[in-house]
Amino acid sequence: MTQPTAMKDRSQLRQKQMIAEHYSRLAAAPDTGDKSAYTFVPGNLTELLRSFDLLPVLPEINALQSAMRGKSRDYISTAEKLGHSEDVCTYVKCDVGMMKSGNVGPTGERLPDPDLLLLSYTGCFTFMKWFEILREEYDCPVAMLHVPYQADGQITDNMRKYVVDQLRDKVIPELERVSGKAYDEDRLKEMLARSAQAEDDLVWVLESAKHRPSPIDAYFGGVYYIGPIFTAFRGTKDAVAYYRELREEVQQRIDAGLGPVTPEGDMGEERFRIVVEGPPNWTSFREFWKMFADEGAVSVSSTYTKVGGVYDMGFRHDPDHPLETMADYCLGCYTNLNLPSRVDMLVRYIEEFNADGLLINSIKSCNSFSAGQLMILREVENRTGKPGGFIESDLVDPRYFSAANIKNRLESYFQMIEQKRSGGTQ
């Protein structure tokens, strides 16, 4: 049976084109001489990389793209046959399997080997091991940026200085060596200024979900077309244009009283407003999204879209203090926040977005997110009086997506919200 085709907005077409061009440029890199740096989404230094004309390659994005194309099962199997444990992160195993299978990217073209591994160790211990594994495979330098954890819910001067020292004395000299170009702070500042400009529009779009009906889905839409462009393109003119266009489109939806775009087209009546914590499942992304849309459930805010930065909490890149602002950005990513801060943020989302409750999608692969989520659920329920729901799946391992089980749980959860409403507990 043919699946319905969703209408794509102008911004989504622009995004598609930007991503296609990026991957084409990567595929052509061995011929053009363009150099690439493999790096991670949280705490990424996109502006800095681009100021050296280095192209970012993001292994997590490759892994989730592989999952959406139905490739991850075989890639994970390849990695497990090589001795990688069934217990560990499937992003890593999917990436290893993809590399061992020819390193073919989402557009069907081979990705270049890295000229640099930029290990931004932010908010996830696995990143460190991941790049040790990649280092064994590639003959290229590694620049390590260790970002300390916000254990007490704040960024201290000591943390900031530690990150700035590493940027200045370790990362930038390595970028200079690999790119053959000198550090150009003025160019970096220009990019950071463009980032801040796009960040304003990004936050406006995210906050648009405070409207009823919400014109966006801040989880599925958030990871599908609102957030991703930010990581690899931050600091570019394209990113500024993209977010301006997206903002205009969302304004039009608000004016027209429309809900969010879904894979099946415009969503019908908005029945439930949910805050979602945790990454999505990528292997059955569309099916997963549809389970919400069919119930009239819209995510008005989510945390996974904040692993690339907590702009909605006020952070903006500051071009006047380039290294310090990059340090603050890295330190502030969602997975680098302690549990009390995460609880505070979720409570704030539920209150400010007038949500009906918190739903946690707990991911087997991701201890950084998952460890402690059951406690987060209870804390948020206690503080808001709103019901919490809990489902389990995995990032890119299709063996851990049980559609019937998740659907049952979601339906029960939505029923629970309705019961609460009819009981006058709203």
């Binding site: 992160c89 260790h146 609880v343 201890n367 460890a371």
Partner: protein, 392 residues
Amino acid sequence: MSGANLGPLLERAEALYRDYQLGSVKDWKATTGGKAVGFMPVYVPRELLAAQGVLPVGIMGGGEDLEIIRGDAYYQSYICHIPRSTIELGLNGSMDVLDGMIFPAICDVIRNLSGMWKLRFPDKLSRYLDVPQNFDDGIGGQFYRHELEQLSSDLEALGARKYDAEALREAITVYNENRRLIDGLYELRRDTPWKVPTSELYVVLRAGLVLPVEEFNEMLVAYRDAVQTDSSRKPMDQARVLVTGSFCEQPPLGLIKTLERSGCYIVDDDFVQVHRWIQGEISTEGDPLDSLVHAFLKDSIASPTRYIADEEKGRALLDRVAESKAEGVLFCAPSFCDPALLDQPMIVRAIEKHNVPWTAFKYAENNSQFQVIREQAGTFADSIKLWSGVDA
């Protein structure tokens, strides 16, 4: 002390190891009026705590004896066992005697547990100890020194003595002696593993987690003297193995005994690694806080929890294989342990290049059935005896 006195010593050590109510810590507090602060694996600078009059108490989870009643409600099935048993100990009052907890940077699970502790036990000190993954004195060193200064201030706010450089030098001296004694026992086990069964050494090391270091040192001396003079212990035809991967959640004692009974002499391991995290002596010259920092940066063990920057991955394990004359490696990691299990394929590759035999299995701290592991380890030991060919 003669071999005949080993029984009471080991009984005491095992009683301390199994005392989740931390009776010895209660006694120590009642006697001294001091503060006691717990810490999770792998490493905390115990010298600093001791220098401020605080008893560092190692909390290695609930082991095989603790029944988990509420802890499982805090964790999904795919998360390792140590955080759920630790929460259980917190909730059932076993850790009430502690004035605080330190959670070192080891993995995301223990990291997040530090926040859970803040939420669940707001009246206690809950301190995440971030350690640098940059090992330059001027970068990671400065960061770590500041972390230690902050820890010292937190202890003082808790009611501990004020930081004093001379007191820290004295504490370093006593812990240096502690490291020498433990290294001596590891060396004795390497040379004569039949004299120092790991199942004994392990409970002694576990007992040391709840004792003041001076008392622990006395126990180590007594144990060493007793096994050295015990002529009843004779060598057996066992395979010499190095056990790795068990640095955080500890294996149940029954598992260690099973490995020994299956025909293995454990000649090196990473159990209770806090005792051997710093490999040599810490200097008592100059600023002692700088010495602690320097030792962490330059003399820590090559753990999977540390970023290995320039060295060949697996080199440190190969050196240990050579030094201990191990004939094979047992990868013995807790289920769902990210640092150990993500590291393992890289280390396997490194040792395979040198034809070091290996096998791997997983455990949880509360496992009680070891038949499958016994068969696996026994077969491994037999294969080593038949076809050994290590060239590390």
